[in-house]
């Protein structure tokens, strides 16, 4: 356990303490705790940058589950440091912003900040772990916390729809990722990323190499909202704006980029990796920027813009992989794409963070985010306007902002493959500059429209009557800082070029450093009349013309048939799978517990019977057992008698007591067999379960006596007889067969020596197999909560939920209400908003009032 470990886990710790802290200082907004923690983490991490810059990564490790090869190894190199700084730095700004944005009287702040902290911790863990399995764990944790944050306003159907969509898509990718990691393990025998790098070249020739790569890319693409998995990101905008700014633009969606960058040393240099990553990025870049122009919601524009910018960075990462193929000077030329990717990542965080926060401010002050209803806000919100102008200029790639520099580097990088001449680039290399240029034109257009339609022009009538004023300073400071950063990155790129960007880029392409070179990272504002500069001139000229005439050609978008959209596919497939699932499930889940017992026992019969039949060396040593003492005969007779009489009992209590009698006789048997632990447990369990039975049966209707004779059911009879026979056979076989060395010797030997206990049973429970016990009590806890929910929180109707909401439907809530009505015949819980919460408190917290 080191400082770095503590640093990674501290957000979880604070998350656990937030409710207590909130009670201790109720007047302080809970956001300050998050802000303070993030700022502290940021400062500590900054302290590591000198080491990292000197080229010595920090590595700290401890074994977590050593028997499975899972360790929690924290590895801090340039790439991790950059991301960690991004996470904590943005975290601090977003937290400060949220203090003004989230109203403590209306919102459930404790839940919000706990989720935010869990996300932050998961994200830090993700970028700092060196073990693929821990990385995967944190990866899924970010998905889960994002799901909960998108669904923060869980009463809204659209929020739930967006949350579910993001969860389904990113979790699908997550499963792919896990399979990919396991394939890597199969090939190399290690989960450590550093050891995988060392395994190196031989991996490429493995047959599983390509499947592993594709599965991992599936994970990265779904997380980073690459085409065609991008559809969850626009719907994720239902989250509160601080969340959108933090998770869905600056950090979580960049986890996919991080993964691609982190694993580049393994995959780079193969043509598949190059084409999938760069082409996937390129298509996303174009799709996102073209799609952003037609959006009318401020956050919608920003969501599509984020998709497009993520595509840009992904494309750059793909292009940089060409460095693995070439040598010397040429290698450095291609490696420059890696530097550009890292630099653009930083720029994007700055300008997009600022723009998202501005969108939140506009929403907060004007009450709408629809650019059709906005306009002319510059007169009342000059500061907000300036901030958004800075952000948009950087996003559009205009000098002297950071975005200009990285856009130039991007344009240079897309021209480079023209000279590559490998991987069929002779034919296809022209795609890169052409698509990049078109996408950049559209980027320019939406950046312009975003600012112009919100802040310039005439104010709409509805807005001019309302008293709109500038946002409170607390809300302005974080985006203002980011806007200044966007400018500073353009004017003084040297601030970060050698301290942050080069170490990060070198972590993506260790091959450059291995050959004795340094990554090219001289970023200058003026770099001569290069082809890239001329391309930018063209972008600005075309973009200006198109932006001015936007109203005339925007109608072209409606030509695209909505039937073909991926969202329709998503909605349709969800409905399709639901129908199939319902149909298949209703085949065997018929509600009769008798048939469930039949399935369970039948399955047991199949598996156990198969094993018993197939294993060799089983002997039934009939007749070689210990003598049965006379008193044991008594118990056995009693057991048999009580078991046999259960079916013939006339009333339920009698049946229960007879079952209990069998249990208590069993306890006695255990005593005679000298198993005090078993006897004790059996006795207590029996007492409690008999009572539980009595309680349950108390609720059942009276037992009726059937007049007609019970029908004989052959399948039930067969299953019953077969189970009896099988269990008897197994018990006989167990005594005569001993294929393995008994484990008890080990426990007998070790439990006093190394665990310090004399009761082997207990030592096994709490020490040797403590992990099992922990999970078991967890299962018990979940089961009890399930029972509690089922009985105490019963609702009148089940809410159909957001699955039936479609992507396009504006009136999602109406639609869901209609569906509920069709399915349940009444309006369900939402119909009586007054009644529901009341009855919930009555039933749910019976001890609250007492």
């Amino acid at each position: 356990m080191s400082l770095l470990h503590l640093l990674t886990l501290s957000p979880f710790l604070i998350a656990a303490l937030i409710p207590l802290l909130g009670k201790a200082v109720p007047r302080l907004h809970k956001g300050w705790f998050v802000a303070a923690l993030s700022a502290a983490l940021f400062t500590i991490l900054l302290g590591y940058s000198a080491d990292i810059r000197g080229g010595s990564p920090v590595i700290e490790s401890f074994d977590w589950i050593p028997t499975l090869g899972i360790s929690f190894t924290v590895y801090l190199d340039g790439l991790s440091l950059l991301f960690a700084l991004l996470i904590t730095g943005m975290g601090a700004l977003v937290a400060v912003y949220s203090v003004a944005y989230m109203n403590p009287e209306e919102e459930d702040l404790t839940r919000f900040y706990i989720l935010l902290l869990i996300f932050m911790g998961a994200m830090l863990g993700l970028v700092l772990s060196d073990n693929l399995l821990t990385l995967y764990g944190f990866w899924e944790l970010t998905s889960v916390s994002s799901f909960l944050l998108i669904g923060y306003n869980h009463a809204k159907h659209r929020s739930r729809y967006g949350a579910l969509k993001s969860l389904l898509i990113t979790m699908t990718g997550g499963v792919g990722l896990l399979s990919g990691f396991i394939l890597l393990y199969v090939m190399s025998g290690t989960y450590r990323i550093r050891e995988l790098f060392e395994a190196g070249a031989p991996l490429v020739s493995e047959p599983l190499f390509l499947p592993a790569m594709l599965l991992i890319l599936l994970g990265a693409f779904t997380k980073s909202a690459q085409y065609p998995f991008h559809i969850w990101l626009p719907d994720a905008m239902e989250a509160p704006t601080p969340v959108s700014a933090y998770l869905h633009s600056a950090t979580m969606v960049k986890a996919g980029l991080y993964l691609v960058a982190r694993l580049s040393p393994i995959f780079a240099g193969t043509s598949e990796w190059f084409w999938f990553v760069s082409l996937g990025g390129l298509v996303t870049l174009l799709y996102g920027s073209v799609g952003a122009v037609k959006q009318t919601d401020l956050k919608g524009i920003l969501a599509y813009s984020t998709i497009s910018q993520l595509g840009l960075i992904m494309c750059l990462l793909g292009l940089s992989s060409l460095a693995g193929v070439f040598d010397g000077e040429e290698r450095l030329l291609y490696a420059a794409a890696g530097t550009a990717a890292v630099f653009h990542l930083l720029n994007h965080a700055a300008f997009k963070g600022a723009l998202f926060m501005v969108a939140g401010i506009v929403d907060h002050e004007a009450g709408t985010r629809d650019i059709r209803k906005l306009g002319g806000l510059v007169q009342v919100m000059p500061v907000t306007f300036t901030i958004s102008a800075f952000g948009a200029l950087s996003m559009a790639g205009l000098p002297p902002f950071g975005g200009f520099l990285s856009k130039e580097m991007f344009l240079e990088a897309v021209i480079e493959p023209l000279h590559a001449g490998i991987f069929r680039l002779e034919t296809w290399a022209l795609l890169f500059p052409v698509i990049a240029w078109i996408a950049s034109v559209f980027t320019f257009i939406y950046s312009a429209l975003l600012v112009v339609r919100t802040f310039l022009g005439r104010r709409q009538e509805a807005l001019s009557e309302a008293k709109i004023h500038e946002a409170p300073p607390l809300m302005l400071i974080p985006p203002a800082l980011l806007a200044v950063l966007a400018l500073a990155l353009g004017l003084f790129p040297g601030l970060v070029a050698y301290s942050l960007i080069r170490p990060a880029a070198e972590a993506i392409l260790p091959i450059v450093q291995a050959s004795g070179e340094r990554m090219p990272s001289d970023i200058k504002l003026w770099h001569g009349f290069t082809p890239a500069l001329w391309m930018t001139v063209g972008i600005v000229a075309t973009g200006t013309v198109l932006a001015l005439t936007a109203r005339r050609w925007i109608g072209l978008y409606s030509l695209f048939p909505p039937r073909l959209s991926i969202n329709r596919l998503y909605d349709a497939s969800l409905r399709f799978f639901e129908r199939i699932t319902v149909r298949v499930t209703s085949l065997y889940m018929n509600g009769s517990s008798r048939s469930y017992v039949k399935y369970i026992l039948g399955f047991m019969l199949l598996v156990l019977g198969f094993i018993l039949f197939n294993s060799t060396g089983i002997t039934f040593r009939v007749g070689a057992y210990a003598q049965i003492a006379p008193y044991e005969w008594f118990i056995l007779l009693g057991l048999t008698a009580s078991a046999l009489s259960v079916p013939f009992a006339k009333s339920r209590p009698v049946a229960i007591i007879l079952t209990g009698a069998a249990g208590y006789l069993m306890t006695l048997m255990f005593v005679f067999l000298r198993a005090p632990d078993l006897a004790l447990t059996q006795m207590v369990v029996e007492s409690i379960s008999v009572t539980l039975y009595l309680l349950c049966f108390y609720h059942l209707p009276k037992l009726r006596t059937e007049r007609q004779a019970a029908k004989f059911r052959l399948p039930n009879f067969l299953v019953a007889v077969a189970v009896g026979v099988l269990v008897t056979l197994i018990s006989l076989a167990v005594l005569g067969t001993n294929p393995f060395d008994p484990v008890s010797d080990y426990y007998v030997r070790e439990s006093y020596e190394s665990a310090g206990g004399k009761n082997i049973v207990n030592v096994i429970l709490v020490d040797f197999r403590g992990f099992d016990t922990m999970l078991e009590i967890m299962v018990l806890g979940v089961a009890s909560l399930g029972i509690y929910n089922m009985i105490k929180l019963r609702r009148k109707a089940t809410d159909v939920g957001s699955r039936h909401v479609t992507h396009e439907g504006e009136e999602a809530d109406d639609e869901a209400a209609r569906l509920r009505k069709a399915q349940y015949g009444h309006d369900g819980p939402d119909a009586q908003p007054e009644d529901m919460p009341q009855s919930r408190t009555e039933g749910g917290e019976p001890d609250a009032e007492r």
């Binding site: 806890g781 009890s784 029972i787 509690y788």
Partner: protein
């Protein structure tokens, strides 16, 4: 659940409940050396409370032991988890236990074991789970 009004049962259980509880505590502490442990002790404690509920009614149990059993489960799980995590701070793998022999006043030479803390988590979780289930089903109308 019907309201009990059996005088004999009520008066006997007033005494017996404490005997059972004491025995449960004994089982809990002796677990590492002789039969017992958190699981059995937890069930035994729940059994004592259950006896109270049967001879009086659930209201009585709620009044005598005013605990939210769901929180008790959570607390138990948290204790078990924290014991496991605690080992990490000493550079040991998750859930690695430590023990030692100490000379304590009154008790003499005693073995102190982190497994006991883990067992406390199990104990509380088992009480919480059992009582949540029993009370939920018992209170339902």
């Amino acid at each position: 659940m019907p309201k009990g009004n059996d005088i004999f049962l009520q008066n006997v259980s007033k005494v017996v409940v404490f005997i059972i509880l004491a025995f449960a505590l004994y089982l809990f502490f002796t677990g590492h050396g002789s039969p017992g442990g958190g699981f059995i002790a937890g069930l035994m404690t729940a059994g004592a409370l259950l006896l109270l509920a049967l001879s009086f009614d659930i209201e009585t149990v709620r009044k005598v032991v005013p605990v939210d059993y769901k929180l008790l489960t959570a607390a138990g799980l948290l204790i078990a988890l924290c014991t496991g995590t605690g080992a990490l701070f000493f550079g040991e793998p998750f859930l690695k236990h430590a023990f030692g022999y100490f000379d304590l006043p009154l008790l003499g030479k005693t073995e102190l074991h982190t497994a006991l803390i883990f067992d406390l988590g199990v104990y509380l979780a088992v009480i919480g789970v059992t009582m949540t289930i029993l009370l939920t089903i018992g209170e339902d109308n």
